[in-house]
């Protein structure tokens, strides 16, 4: 190659260009995910007259303020990452390491809050494929379609009610707490039974049981009974796919920052300026994605 041959490089470093190319693929990946979730939401089957087609955040135990706090935490961590880059550029590696440590700490807090939220979903049984979708008011067509789901839901509720009312019988019923009494009564309604007037009482249908369980949850949330949510399984798939993939991105960013932090503790951070800058760029992208995911899941 001759010495005076002009170059056609972009006026940015190769590392930055590579990172932006990677981020471009990430933008399209997340757009695809979000578009799919929006499509599923908008085309969700209307279960019946007066029944919401998509669960609202309250029904699925999503607290908008917790999401907002997580957003603020992520923005602050982005800011601290920028400070770290600035300090290293100014020749203060020890300050840069401290800012990096704070960035990692906030990233861990973000994941901690997310883990608490996930725990609550597990406790309430709000998991893909595990949610009962039958409630009163379903159209006959939907009730027929949801029959396998309804049967599984009834069994799940019975199991939970049996564990709550263990040891309760007709003799000691009067001495039980109010919530246990209600659970015992509901359990009886899910079984074939008879009373003084009727030789046979039909057990509740999945839809009727779903309504009764939802009422009980509103009164006694501490029982952690599995709620009945129309299209809840679709919602759970979208929620876990979006937040789970985002959380994996956060973990990847934290691992990269941790390596740089360790380099900083060993006094070698100044040798890794480009890596810090590129990881910072990736971290801002993770922040940016959350700014889109958060309102779609927690507010809409």
């Amino acid at each position: 190659m001759s010495q005076n041959q002009s170059t056609t490089n972009l006026p940015i470093s190769n590392g930055k260009l590579a990172m932006w190319l990677f981020l471009a693929t990430e933008i399209m990946f997340f757009t695809g995910m979000l578009a799919t979730c929006m499509l599923l939401r908008e085309s969700a089957r209307v279960p019946g007259p007066g029944v919401a087609a998509w669960p609202n955040p309250k029904t699925v135990h999503l607290e908008p303020w917790i999401g907002a706090i997580n957003t603020v935490i992520l923005i602050t961590s982005s800011l601290l990452a920028l400070f770290s880059i600035q300090e290293l550029r100014a020749g203060n590696p020890s300050k840069a390491t401290r800012f990096l440590g704070a960035t990692i700490l906030l990233g861990v807090v973000f994941l901690g809050i997310k883990a608490t939220e996930y725990r609550s979903k597990f406790e309430h049984g709000l998991l893909p494929g595990k949610i009962g979708e039958c409630v009163g008011g379903l159209s006959p067509e939907n009730e027929k379609l949801l029959l396998p789901n309804g049967v599984a839901y009834v069994r799940k509720v019975q199991e939970k009610l049996r564990s709550i009312t263990q040891g309760v019988n007709q003799e000691n019923f009067a001495t039980q707490k109010e919530d246990v009494k209600k659970c015992y009564e509901l359990l009886q309604l899910t079984l074939d039974s008879k009373d003084s007037k009727n030789d046979y009482l039909r057990p509740l249908t999945p839809g009727q049981l779903g309504d009764k369980v939802n009422e009980l949850i509103a009164q006694y949330p501490q029982l952690h009974l599995p709620p009945a949510i129309p299209n809840g399984n679709l919602w759970a798939s979208c929620y876990f796919a979006l937040t789970g993939i985002h959380a994996i991105h956060v973990i990847c960013g934290l691992v990269a920052f941790l390596v740089l932090f360790l380099a900083g503790l060993m006094g070698k951070l100044q040798n890794h300026f480009a890596a810090l800058e590129l990881t910072g760029l990736y971290w801002h992208f993770v922040d940016l994605v959350w700014l889109v995911i958060y309102p779609i899941l927690y507010i809409l």
Partner: protein, 95 residues
């Protein structure tokens, strides 16, 4: 070490503050809205926040001119992904 893209700490803190206020507007204003208004509010505000983050934090204010070759096709293709799925939604609703 590069010396490009240096923003003052004050401007960065101001940007972060704007982003935080924007993020807090979601739970403050969002729940009181309904239907299409809510959807437009959420889409509009998140677009503004994404714009601010990319321009200030990701330095697109400086690097945008150099990276348009990467970003313009990405944005167009992202729009295509969104638009390609839209007709089914619209058709389903009109049924």
């Amino acid at each position: 070490m590069t010396t490009e893209n240096t923003e003052s700490k004050t401007s960065l803190v101001a940007t972060a503050a704007i982003l935080m206020v924007g993020a807090l507007l979601f739970p403050l204003v969002g729940p009181s809205m309904q239907g299409a208004n809510k959807a437009w509010f959420v889409a509009g505000l998140s677009l503004v926040l994404v714009f601010i983050t990319s321009f200030q934090f990701m330095h697109l204010r400086h690097d945008g001119k150099k990276l348009w070759l990467v970003l313009v096709p990405t944005v167009i293709l992202s729009m295509v992904i969104l638009a390609a799925l839209l007709p089914d939604t619209v058709l389903y609703r009109s049924r």
